[in-house]
Amino acid sequence: MLKKVLVANRGEIAVRIIRACREVGIPTVAVYSDVDHSSLHVQLANEAYSLGPPPPLESYLNIDKIIDIAKMSGADAIHPGYGFLAENYHFTKRCEDEGLIFVGATSEAIRLLGNKLESRETMIRAGIPVIPGMETAVRDTAALVQQASRIGYPVLIKAASGGGGKGMRAVSSQAELERALEGARRESKSAFGDDTVYVEKFIERPRHVEFQILADHSGNTVHLFERECSIQRRHQKIVEETPCTALDDQLRRKMGEVAIEVARVAHYTNAGTVEFLLDQDGDFYFLEVNTRVQVEHPITEMTTGIDIVKLQLALASGDPIPVKQQDIVPRGHSIEARIYAEDAENDFMPSFGTILFLQEPAGPGIRNDTGIYAGCDVTMHYDPILAKLIVWDENREMARSRMLTALRDYTILGIKTTIAFLRDVIAHPEFAAGNTHTDFIPEHFAQWREAGDEPANLDVALLSAAIYRHLNPPRAAGRAAASGPAFPNPWNATGEWEIGQGKGAD
């Protein structure tokens, strides 16, 4: 078993990993940038150390600092979560060189699979079906333009080091290509420190179907079945579910076998996800492998009963996979909805501020993986995911109904969130019918506005606000009124509160 794990991440995934460690009795080390000093992951860990200023390159992407803290605190392992350094093979290599256990794949597997073009080539050689596209990356814009013409529009620009939709752009004509390339490169550079991009054929209205795989150091590999993640905005998943309504047993078996073959070809270890596009004819193409725990891993945990993060910890310490493929039997249906701090009425612009009030849904079959609490600040520095709401029920329709009820019970006041938008997505007749594809959001929700449900609700809200204001007039002067919000807090109320010097006042 691992002795002490440093969690090189923040937000809900850091909380998730720390919880898993606590349950199996492994002490944890949290790291945080100055703006995150009061975050949930810092509260839960056994130890917590500052990484310094908020910009990612200075904090959560700061390899030297993270390695130093791991050694100083006596951690023998590092869990990278997702994002940040999770798929950075330099970081993994550094861990390997420093004698730290990296909870994930080897640096060589991450390097190979992180290079989308090299892994593409490798998979083609192994007979894995891939999307037609560029065979080599070129930095030269003219060459990219030429390749795009060869493949034929529409094409998709993708970051060579990418993942999670960052740096990805769909382009339907040459006229759009240059500007899209510029943005994709800048985003890719900012997110992954590498601005290499490439283009491939854009498949229309595909489903995004991925398989969770687990592999141990003895070459045993199993899959935990599929997740469908077609509901996306800006190429980022917002709703995921398992099982996928488009797979029959035969296709499911075949895709699962291909997923395991992909892992085998890449000498993959630990948990990973093999992503496929499934086109309207039922043909599927290998897309990429996400070499880390996936944001949407909980839905697989709900249906298979296997705790992927705990298994990651066990596999990292050298344990074999404890189950055989035939013993993994999914049960029921699970859906995840990602709650983002975004304004869905305004092109999903990020929203930040203080969470003034928080009420999370509860009840049977409801799981909420969260990184927030009432009173916390949502800052502009990081990915705007706040929480993931996951439901399980006996079948898809019951799960959908449970999700709608849970979203209705989810109240976050003080910032804009995607909660109301997600309700409307999951209530949509085409979603209910299982007719999902990656253009679902632009197709059905292009000009979405939040409905009040009943017109009378606006009056109820207005008169509630009026009474509340009547009872709680805003303070005429003073710091709280001047600087805006401030969660009602006895620490402020005394007027004499100051936090310790040099402790990262933000």
Binding site: S190, S351, F352, E450, N457, D459, L463, S464, Y468, G484
Partner: protein, 169 residues
């Protein structure tokens, strides 16, 4: 008490009076008799025409957030002099001549300087927050009159970043 609340650019006039069994609240020209049953600091039950509605509520500065039936409303209290500096306060024809920040964030790129000729749709600047970039484009063909921000500046949503002159000037 009288107050004006703004929601989706509409202004609502409200009046609150204590009544025998709670409050009499006017919303525009509609009158409601309601009573309030407190549940906790940010939650109460509103009894309106005999029916219960569960309300979650919080305020910060001049903003009041209300959740009714899982839907969230954000109201701004309108007071003279307390207005935010943003396009929402600008007359429509002035908006045409400004480029505003589409979201709060950091100016990561500034493509123009004063006097530059720009075409409608031209990217004037790029704002980034939470790892997402947004382009600020020219709303009209014209010239750059004033640049009010610098690269690396923090901007708020709706803040005027660049003022333009129309081509005829």
């Amino acid at each position: 008490m009288e107050l004006n609340l703004t929601f989706n650019n509409e202004e609502y006039r409200l009046g609150v009076e204590r009544a025998e069994d709670g409050y009499e609240v006017t919303v525009g020209d509609r009158i409601y008799q309601v009573s309030v049953r407190p549940i906790s600091s940010n939650t109460f039950s509103l009894v309106i025409h005999g029916a219960n509605r569960l309300i979650h509520i919080a305020s910060a500065g001049r903003a009041t957030y209300v959740a009714v039936d899982g839907r969230q409303f954000c109201f701004q209290e309108a007071t003279p002099g307390g207005r935010k500096h943003g396009t929402r306060d600008l007359p429509i024809d002035r908006r045409e001549l400004t480029a505003i920040a589409p979201m709060p964030g950091r100016v990561v790129k500034l493509n123009v300087t004063e006097g530059d000729r720009v075409e409608r749709g031209h990217t004037l600047a790029v704002v980034e927050a939470m790892k997402m970039e947004n382009e600020v484009r020219a709303p009209i063909d014209g010239y750059v009159d004033r640049v009010l921000v610098r690269e690396d500046d923090m901007v708020n949503v709706g803040q005027v970043m660049i003022e333009l002159k129309s081509g005829e000037d």
